[in-house]
């Protein structure tokens, strides 16, 4: 059998997804046996013009990780869509916006001001900001356009499969590899992860849910057997897709929500408001307000990975 042509590409991401692929240890050999890597900036070579020169649909599988933050990301997403038979939205950034998607709480102007004027390590007396193009004696230099909004991959091009996770687990990656190699593909748009919420696979004992306050993990001696929410710890499990093997909660850490919401939940943040607030043990509006305010950054916690893919997608902005 001819080897499959595999591309791995990153946009707005940290590179952890690349490492997750390498983390398959010796199983990566099987990938090497089955695939020719035609593009993988982190681990192999490959330039824009190589990809541009490939015939359409000549890449069998492209694992695309990273959110769409700027015009270069967008151009690569479009290019790789054209060149790939199967485009996989790989990891939380591509699938949900991920951590880069949290920038949707701010506008481009706010981000630039913070990064190039106000940050503690910045001295910028002339108020220089990056420009998209600048004329120098040698000619014109250009930079990609920094978008006002962070997008998920599926918001800009059609995607065939999703593998969420920050980063995806090696088991998920292996499932995907085997499916591709065997040609036994699941229906398009399948999310390669669990179907139900994390709570469903979390081994902790769940009893009656009633909480008096919200706590951070370091403020409690965590009972290793009991549901974290019942201990007052904010855990995103109720509104997060399982399939990760509950690795965080097994290690006494609450779920941070990196798999995004399961199919039947429209909005992870809204669902978490419902799940966590409804169990506060009080009927007094004053006290409820006080307890709720113990959570300093509810939107940031509840949408940590999924803001760009949520109902509202970003902080409200005036029409300009």
């Amino acid at each position: 059998m001819a080897k499959l042509k595999l591309a791995v590409y990153w946009t707005a991401a940290c590179g952890g997804c690349d490492v997750a692929i390498l983390d398959m240890n010796e199983r990566i050999m099987a990938v090497g046996d089955a695939c020719d890597i035609v593009l993988w900036p982190l681990a192999a070579d490959g330039k824009y013009h190589h990809v541009e020169g490939m015939p359409d649909h000549s890449i069998d599988v492209c694992l695309f990780h990273g959110a769409i933050r700027n015009s270069e990301n967008l151009a690569m997403a479009r290019l790789l869509r054209e060149k790939s038979n199967i485009l996989v939205s790989f990891g939380s950034c591509a699938s949900l916006g991920g951590i880069p998607g949290l920038a949707n709480f701010y506008s481009r102007e706010e981000i630039f001001r913070r990064a190039y004027m106000e940050s503690e390590s910045t001295v910028n007396r002339e108020g220089v900001f990056p420009q998209q193009s600048v004329a120098v004696p040698e000619g014109e230099l250009t930079l990609p356009e920094f978008f006002d909004t962070v997008y998920t991959l599926a918001q800009v091009v059609p995607v065939d499969y999703f593998i969420p996770g920050c980063p995806p687990t090696t088991d998920q990656i292996w499932t995907a590899v085997q499916a591709v190699v065997s040609g036994n593909l699941p229906p398009r748009k399948t999310v390669i992860a669990g179907r139900k919420s994390l709570c469903d696979e979390c081994p902790r004992v769940k009893e009656e849910k009633k909480i008096q306050s919200f706590k951070r993990p370091f403020e409690v001696m965590v009972d290793p057997a009991k549901c974290l929410i019942e201990q007052g710890i904010v855990c995103c499990g109720p509104a997060t897709r399982g399939g990760c093997g509950a690795r965080c909660t097994k290690a006494n850490m609450p779920c941070r929500g990196c798999f995004g919401p399961p199919d039947q939940i429209a909005d992870q943040g809204a669902k978490l408001v419902g799940a966590l607030a409804s169990i506060i043990d009080s009927q007094d509006p004053q006290e409820l307000r006080k307890i709720s305010h113990l959570l300093a950054d509810p939107a940031g916690i509840f949408y940590r990975f999924s803001l760009a893919d949520s109902l509202l997608k970003h902080k409200r902005k005036e029409v300009c």
């Binding site: 978008f147 669902k271 408001v273 607030a277 409804s278 409820l288 902005k317 029409v319």
Partner: protein, 142 residues
């Protein structure tokens, strides 16, 4: 467009108290602004915070959730569940740029037609002062 801004308010009312209260306002011919579009649910306990987000996303300038007074919910404590969600939901909405004035949770009994009319009139005025809620769609990248 000319004339003053007419806010679009989505009212989510429980079947047993507030919807009947709103009905009473109608039967008693009490005038209140036509800015409110009412959706009936069985109980405020059924109001998933996603309903509120969805209303804003679809163009509401304000969302009013109204249920039975605490202690008189037809399902015992559905309204208490909504009462618990309200502060956290409001905080999250603020972070998403949606002001507190635009989302309200109130209690209106079946006999409080007058009170319902007053709440709607006040909320309409407040939101009129605030202006429309515009949610920008970002660059055309799709």
């Amino acid at each position: 467009m000319t004339g003053r801004f007419e806010p679009n308010i989505v009212g989510i009312l429980c079947n047993w108290c507030s919807y009947t209260g709103a009905d009473l306002a109608g039967v008693a011919r009490i005038k209140y602004p036509a800015n409110i579009k009412i959706v009936r649910v069985m109980c405020t306990g059924r109001v998933d915070p996603a309903f509120v987000l969805k209303a804003f996303k679809e163009g509401a300038d304000g969302v009013l959730v109204s249920g039975c007074h605490p202690g008189s919910c037809h399902y015992v404590d559905g309204n208490i569940k909504m009462m618990r969600r309200e502060p956290l939901l409001s905080a999250m909405l603020e972070q998403l740029g949606i002001e507190g004035t635009r989302f309200k949770l109130v209690w209106v009994s079946a006999s409080e037609g007058e009170r319902f009319a007053k709440i709607v009139a006040e909320m309409t005025e407040e939101i009129r002062r605030l202006g429309p809620l515009t949610i920008k769609e970002g660059e055309q990248v799709g």
